[in-house]
């Protein structure tokens, strides 16, 4: 429980150290998020790794200058801004910008360039990213039945269906699901607080 009580967040620690070890930690935590943002921006698969790397470096370089106020600063907003700018620069320099716009309007993948749309990407992708991180972190603690129950639950199945499918008492299904949710929720809240 102590980690909740320390006032210094993970991101603050990374920023303070700013060495090879913290670089690794940093990339682990944010790489997936940047990646998913790039996908939503419509960056082609061949260019993604390159762009992720560039964005990470850009963020890493300016990290010490980033004005971080605990509980107030939205670090993730900044990450998103940097990533988006990288993305727009990439589109311009590769002269595929016009193409991109055309393609996007045809597919409807990228609604518009309006703030409304981009904010949505930022938000939705962040939520999914944190969930995934959280799950990765708690998964090793969970037994198979817990994982199975939770997986079926995530697929929208109800307690009765899960109990017959896994041959478990309804009560157990309920308890397992609640326990996983509880643990997961705690982790999500923790990560969001630490990394955002």
């Amino acid at each position: 429980m102590d980690k909740y009580n320390t006032r210094q967040t993970l991101i603050a620690k990374i920023r303070e150290q700013h060495n090879d070890q913290s670089w690794e930690e940093f990339t682990d935590l944010y790489k997936a998020y940047i990646y998913s943002v790039l996908i939503r921006m419509g960056v082609q698969e061949s260019d993604r790794d390159d762009l992720v790397q560039k964005s990470l470096i850009e963020i890493w370089k300016s990290l010490p200058r980033f004005e971080y106020v605990p509980g107030q600063g939205k670090f993730r907003n900044w990450i998103y801004t940097v990533t988006k700018n990288q993305c727009l620069g990439h589109f311009r320099t590769h002269k595929r910008y016009q193409n991109k716009i055309q393609k996007a309007s045809e597919q409807g993948a990228l609604e518009t360039d309006s703030n409304q749309g981009s904010e949505d990407i930022e938000d939705v992708e962040w939520k999914k990213h944190i969930f995934t991180l959280a799950w990765e972190r708690i998964e090793p603690e969970l037994s198979d039945s817990y994982k199975q129950v939770f997986m079926l639950f995530s697929q929208g199945k109800n307690v009765t269906e899960i109990s017959s499918e896994l041959d478990l008492q309804k009560n157990s299904v309920h308890v397992y699901r609640q326990r996983v949710l509880k643990r997961l929720n705690r982790e999500i809240r923790f990560l969001d607080d630490e990394l955002a």
């Binding site: 944190i130 969930f131 997986m151 995530s154 929208g156 997961l184 809240r189 969001d192």
Partner: protein
């Protein structure tokens, strides 16, 4: 890694933030140590109490643990169960019960302030009688409530009553409490009782539950019956005893003696025990009744006990002045005509009368005390006045006791009959009217007799006296009206005959002269002695100044007073001063009572060498200079509130100087009985002082303010 649905991920993330209560619950269930114990607050026979901090609710509270052995754990649990039933502002609130590391505990409000024992015995704060009774009433309320839930406290004592700094009163320690509706505790109760040793040989052991000195006889021995509400009534009586006297009711030096005293009802009445303050016999009677040995003789309920205290408080609060109380009673009677209410008003009357007598008694006590202080100098004379004071004290004591009996009678009276009214009327007649009449308080005497007639319109004695009072007030037509209803055996012919002289054929009052008035009073005074005739004559004389001008009144007074002068010669000098007040001298004329000068605007009065005694005739006068040297006046209590600037009390027996210190005096001639000469320095206006030679020590005289001019007169000349 499970391949979660994209929308599920987002939803799950959002879910994590909507369920905050979950987080708090988690925190609470995770915390192993909710309470952090601090220092020990106290420890009794049953349990230990420590100060504790509740990290969940973030507050200080008190945590109680049972002392280890098992029977105590049972008691402990029973206390919790009982306390939990009692939610009342004057009962300590129980918060929670729990087990921690195998140890059972409960938590409750942490007490601030002091318990009653500390408050009275140890703190510097002195509680007024009113404060004490307020606290007591709150304890009574708490117990009334508990009794309504069939729960007895059984351990009421000063140290179990907590009074915090804001006056909140809490009844604590329900460790011995019994729930009468719970069969388990009753049977347990009985078994412990049976196991207890024969108390007569008084081998006390701890099977007797309670606090010796506050516990009732039935808590010691079964032969006094089983425990009941009356048991708490007894302890409340003992608590009231402690509050009033600031002493424990039983004075035994060890437990055996205390128990023996309790069984034998061997304690001194609070009224005889208190040294610091006077205890009214009404409150004394309450304590005595609550602490009766036989349960059946005590108050039947705590409510009855607190009702008695409440009526006492009510009476006390409204008896600040005489006129006020008469008015109050009058209003009550007019407002409510139901006999029940009449019985209450009669009760209040008697209560108020009681306090009135107490005031009177205190006056007399002061006189007696002053007389005592000068016993050496005035051995014979002071003894005489002391005897007077003492017999008066006995007299008032007796009438107070009678009043108390009446209260009791009225309380137990079950029939709401006219008998009550009649009884109240009789009581007013004998207790109030007679006194007012004797003191020549015509106004209150008249008001009282009218009240009596409202209670009982055919009260013969009252009709007769009402006729006399109206005649004295020169309301002859009223007198005649009362006489028509009067069928008693008193001679009324003289009343009727004299009144008829002053009314016309239609029964209206005719014009009359001062000579006719004088003729009437002379007739009343000198046609054979009759106390009633004399009384009417004094009454008429007393209001001369209200019927005629002062100049006429002077003529009347000269004629009237000279007739009864016993002095060497009669002389009445009266001169009008610039401010329309009068300078009057009756020096050397002994013709008491001096009713004729009542209500005169006298600012300067010389009554030296007269038999003047009744200062009440000076009530409300603009008196500035008063010479009462060589008169039988022996106290100034009745004219305490006049603004006298020059006073001569040489040759009097006045020993109580309290009034003297209060006057804005410029000039003062004192007698030989001033016990604290230095207090004359408090009279800032004092310029001239005359003392008897050789009575006061030079040492004392030298301590007087230097700006007071001191002269001497020869003592005994």
């Amino acid at each position: 890694m499970i391949d979660f649905d994209e929308s599920f991920k987002k939803m799950a993330f959002e879910q994590a933030f909507t369920d905050k209560s979950d987080e708090l619950l988690e925190k609470i269930s995770d915390a192993k140590h909710r309470y952090k114990d601090g220092e020990e607050i106290g420890s009794g026979g049953m349990k230990k109490i420590v100060s504790s901090f509740d990290s969940f609710t973030d507050r200080e509270l008190a945590r109680a643990y049972p002392l280890s052995d098992e029977t105590k754990v049972d008691n402990f649990i029973s206390e919790v169960r009982i306390s939990a039933k009692l939610e009342h502002p004057n009962i300590i609130p129980l918060y929670d019960i729990g087990v921690e590391e195998g140890q059972i505990f409960f938590t409750m409000k942490k007490l601030s302030g002091h318990n009653l024992y500390e408050l009275i015995k140890k703190s510097n704060r002195t509680l007024s009688l009113n404060d004490k009774l307020e606290i007591f009433l709150k304890v009574c309320d708490a117990l009334s409530f508990a009794h309504s839930k069939n729960i007895l406290h059984l351990d009421i004592k000063p140290s179990n009553i907590q009074v915090d700094d804001f006056g909140q009163v809490l009844v604590c320690d329900w460790g011995l409490a019994r729930d009468l509706s719970d069969n388990d505790t009753i049977s347990e109760d009985l078994s412990t009782q049976e196991m207890s040793p024969k108390v007569l040989n008084l081998s006390y052991n701890n099977k007797i539950k309670g606090t010796p000195g506050y516990m009732a006889p039935e808590q010691i021995s079964r032969r006094f019956g089983s425990r009941s509400q009356g048991t708490d009534v007894f302890s409340l009586g003992a608590l009231l005893y402690f509050l009033l006297t600031e002493k424990e009711p039983f004075s035994g030096s060890n437990v055996d003696i205390l128990l023996k005293q309790t069984i034998n009802g061997d304690f001194i009445a609070p009224i005889k025990r208190a040294t610091k303050s006077h205890i009214s016999s009404a409150l004394n009677a309450v304590v005595m009744k609550a602490m009766r040995n036989k349960r059946s003789e005590r108050y039947a309920s705590v409510k009855k006990l607190s009702d008695d205290i409440r009526s006492y408080l009510q009476g006390f609060a409204t008896s600040a002045e005489e006129a006020g109380f008469l008015k109050e009673v009058k209003l009550l009677i007019i407002r409510n005509k139901v006999p029940f209410v009449l019985s209450i008003s009669a009760l209040i009357i008697t209560m108020l009368l009681t306090t009135f007598f107490i005031h009177k008694l205190q006056d007399e006590k002061q006189i007696a005390q002053a007389a005592q202080a000068h016993a050496e100098a005035m051995a014979l004379k002071s003894l005489e006045s002391e005897n007077v004071a003492l017999s008066a004290q006995r007299e008032t004591e007796a009438s107070r006791l009678k009043a108390l009996e009446l209260i009791e009678d009225l309380q137990t009276e079950k029939q709401f009959s006219s008998e009550l009214k009649i009884k109240a009327a009789d009581e007013l007649m004998t207790k109030a009217f007679i006194n007012f009449r004797k003191n020549k308080n015509y106004l209150n005497a008249t008001a009282t007799v009218r009240m009596v007639l409202q209670l009982n319109p055919s009260h013969q004695e009252a009709l007769y006296h009402a006729a006399l009072m109206e005649m004295g007030a020169f309301q002859m037509h009223n007198t005649l009206a009362y006489l028509k209803q009067y069928k008693g055996s008193n001679d009324v012919k003289w009343i009727r005959d004299n009144c008829l002289k002053f009314v016309d054929a239609s029964g209206r009052l005719k014009k009359y002269t001062w000579k006719e008035t004088l003729a009437l009073t002379q007739e009343l005074l000198y046609s054979g002695y009759d106390p009633d005739k004399t009384y009417v004559a004094w009454h008429i004389n007393s209001s001369i100044a209200q019927k005629f001008s002062i100049e006429t009144s002077i003529k009347y007074a000269r004629e009237s007073m000279s007739k009864r002068n016993q002095g060497q010669s009669f002389k009445l000098d009266a001169a009008k001063l610039e401010d329309d007040t009068y300078k009057v001298s009756l020096a050397g004329s002994s013709c008491a009572p001096y009713e004729e000068i009542r209500h005169w605007p006298i600012s300067d009065l010389n009554m030296s060498w007269t038999n003047f005694r009744n200062l009440s005739i000076l009530w409300g006068s603009p008196l500035k200079k008063l010479n009462i040297s060589f008169t039988p006046v022996n106290h100034l209590n009745e004219i305490w509130d006049l603004n006298i600037e020059e006073l001569n009390i040489r040759g009097t027996k006045i020993g109580n100087y309290e009034a003297v210190y209060k006057y804005p005096l410029r000039k003062l001639i004192i007698n030989e009985f001033c016990s604290s000469l230095h207090r004359l320095n408090d009279i800032k206006t004092l310029k001239e002082l005359s003392l008897p030679r050789g009575v006061y020590s030079q040492d004392k005289i030298s301590k007087l303010n230097k700006n007071i001019k001191i002269t001497y007169y020869n003592h005994g000349s």
